[in-house]
Amino acid sequence: MPVKPDCEKLCPEWPCDDPFEFKGVWVVAEADENELNEASLQMLTPAKKIASKLGEKIVGILVGYNVKKWADELIKHGADEVIVVDDERLKTYYPRVYGQVIVDLAKKYKPSVILVSATMRGREMAPYIANTLRTGITADCTDFDVDEKTGDVLMIRPPFAAIMLAYIKTPFRKPQMGTARPNVFPVPPRDESRSGPVIEEKAEIIPPGMELAYYKPVKREEVLIEKAEIIVSVGKGIGGPDGVKLAEKLASLLGGVVAGSRKAVDAGWIPPERQVGQTGKSVKPVLYIAIGISGAAQHMIGVREAGRIVAINIDPDAPIFNQADYGIIGDYREIVPALIEELERLKKEGPKAIEELLKEEEEAAAS
């Protein structure tokens, strides 16, 4: 049971609300005319976990212009209902304007939880919403849960050291707000049979105090590392751009993409949008090949969802060997070219070459 706060003890800048009035788990969707961001759909996964534990509804929030059409998509993926503010004056996104619309909706509907995907836009807007509601917000959660005794939502995130998990709650304020990075959660499966109400709201739109004066779309990277099935990831041990070329060759043979550790990004060998880890991206490939990466906790947190991890490292004591499925001790400058050569040969010889490869082991075992 939530406890009613002692209003005398609260900061007078905060409203002293009755926590029992707050119901519903909101997912703020990021959408425009052309696209509903998949990262927003992913937030329906933790929303479902929280909502079922609280016994509350999942509500999708759509704010923008020509965005009402996405309501059904949110419902099919798990929202029970959707609140839409569709207004031509919201054609251009301004963080404070969009944020204020959501603040006003939250003041009216009083949700108990607001989840926002930590996309670039989400990271910019969510703290404004939280602060304007004078409530707490926890960034980049990797999981959510509910405290059974108090009904407080637990926002779970690794603090400074990625080996730990902090459980953060917001016991005296509602709504409770949290964000999660894209791809930490899967998109819930689409269920064609689902339907639900779509509530259209009018909102007061504040003057932005700013103006978009120039806009030039940039071509988005073809294969995002978040989507890749096979990732060849390089670390400090790769030593320089030549090592990256080898990794690229290996990746292209495997139909994969190249990513890197923070040290590889800091060295300028890998672009920042390809950094894996706590301050980079979470990835979930079928296969993650880590070359010259030591296995720091802040890196490995980004590959928790990887299917299999291969580590190639010269140092037998590298911590990554203890966190990988298949480890090879050795100099990548020798091993990766050999691997490329073998793969090229296999590719040429066709699937029958696998049998031969596996037979070799039996022979080795027999001798």
Binding site: D147, A161, L165, Y214, V218, G256, V310, G327, A338
Partner: protein, 278 residues
């Protein structure tokens, strides 16, 4: 123009520990530095001042030792430092922190002179929330924008800010006063100059404000003013992995060993086959 730049004094090591009861950082014995992501903010502030005149005031809410951090940025050419330090500020989450910083900006505006822009770094290396810029904008009611890479004054004394997101290159023209948060590594910071250091030594342009000066309600600052509470800290559960480590005879042996493992492993074999032979 008068520009406030927010900086954070952060522990400089991965070996920090936590107080298992409160979940707060144990800072003792850990050397601190100016948060690296604040340098683009400092650099942007200095460039604006160099171009349009005025002054740059660095503000930090921190323990008294953060004076060193302020001295460091004074060495880069920052004009003044404001150290917000009080035991009552300790244990603050981002809401309570942004409150103190916003109130300090209001006090600077009133007592030192009109503030045109407040610039923050993108995030800190010790908690990486990227909250403070937006929260300060919320307290002050100013327009704001994140991910800035550059800025210049345009007509009517407005500030044009250039930024890049994953979708587009954008330019926003903001009414002042406004809050700007810079992108990570957006601008190369200038080096420390002896001249600036000497000036800072002689002039001592660091103002210390405790809560006596700020006069904020005790319920709004520090732990009490923080709606978020760390309920528990645990070790992260380990992901089960096979942990098979092989020391090969030679590179070819390594390659063939690995491929055998992968082709025997039903979780990856189909994907490899698809990649190699379609």
């Amino acid at each position: 123009m008068r520009i406030v730049v927010g900086i954070k004094w952060v522990p400089n090591t991965q070996a920090v520990r936590f107080d298992p009861k409160t979940g707060t950082l144990i800072r003792e014995g850990v050397p601190s530095i100016v948060n690296p992501h604040d340098y683009p903010a400092i650099e942007l502030a200095l460039r604006l001042r160099d171009k349009y005149g005025g002054e740059v005031i660095a503000v930090t809410m921190a323990p008294p030792s953060a004076r060193q951090g302020l001295e460091h940025v004074l060495g880069m050419g920052v004009d003044k430092g404001v150290l917000l330090t009080d035991r009552a500020f300790a244990g603050a989450d981002t809401l309570a922190t942004s409150y103190v910083i916003a109130k300090a900006i209001e006090k600077i505006d009133k007592e030192i002179g009109h503030v045109d822009v407040a610039i923050f770094g993108h995030e800190t290396i010790d908690s990486s929330t990227a909250h403070i810029g937006a929260q300060v904008a919320s307290w002050l009611g100013w327009p704001y924008v994140y991910y800035a890479r550059d800025a210049e004054l345009v007509e009517d004394g407005k500030l044009k800010v250039r930024r890049q997101t994953e979708r587009a290159i954008e330019e926003y023209v903001l009414n002042l006063p406004a809050v700007v948060a810079t992108a990570i590594k957006a601008l190369e910071p200038r080096p420390i100059r002896l001249l600036h250091k000497l000036r800072a030594k002689i002039e001592q342009p660091i103002i210390v404000w405790t809560n006596n000066e700020l006069g904020l309600d005790k319920r709004c600052i520090g732990l009490k003013g923080s709606p978020t509470v760390v309920a528990n800290i645990t070790f992260m559960p380990e992901v089960p992995r096979k942990k098979i480590v092989y020391k090969p005879k030679d590179p070819k042996d390594a390659a063939r060993w690995l491929l055998r493992q992968l082709f025997k492993d039903e979780a990856v074999a189909p994907f490899l086959k698809k990649a190699l032979w379609g």
